[in-house]
Symmetry: C2
Amino acid sequence: MITGLSHVSIAVPSLESAAKKLKELYGLTVTEAKVNEEQGVRLACVELPNARIELMEPSRPGSPIAKFLERNPGGGIHHFCLNVDDVAAARVELGRRGARVLGEGRDQRNVHGEHIAFVHPKDFLGALVELEQRAG
Amino acid sequence: MITGLSHVSIAVPSLESAAKKLKELYGLTVTEAKVNEEQGVRLACVELPNARIELMEPSRPGSPIAKFLERNPGGGIHHFCLNVDDVAAARVELGRRGARVLGEGRDQRNVHGEHIAFVHPKDFLGALVELEQRAG
């Protein structure tokens, strides 16, 4: 079911200032931002050889990331993401095993068009975990 | 300086019950636990093909992980770890660039004997980030 670690995701108040800091301090390059209207986030990434660091800025007030930043104004780790071979199959199988997959069975896509789903933190040791199915 | 994503680390109240849950719900296998006395943690891992999920249980009251669990009794994401080619060199270079590396220049090792260091969350977008130098 789970095939690897896709990314760690950090909520930030500003993508631009986050990118500047990562470049200046660590020499890391952040990709161009894309907006996911459904989730209310602007996203950008650091591509490492084996995985990504994702940065998320709220694209509108009241979005889940905006609320996270109300509780953590400086930003912080929001979730991490595991690759799965098949999100729809994982959702069914996890439901059968007693893990709550959020979103009421609705098909969700990320900005790359890949199928995703989120597992309830209470069913992953207190961590918010995204499941992502590689495109193609 | 940074060569990849090593692991995501989750603080848990009990390694044994965490391992049981990850096996039952996700089919994931957790390695045998090791104790890091200096940090006051019992550690175990899920080895994924490209990176690890680390689980940390406090090995004594008052340790940093014990304090984290007082604030997050169900557990949660504690930090993530980036591979670097040389921890000592990274510490010097990051200090020069204005990032605070914790531990006052003291050489720290993980349970595998690898050199590690932690960056202050304020200097990594609110995330606690470990740096780890692969052995060998």
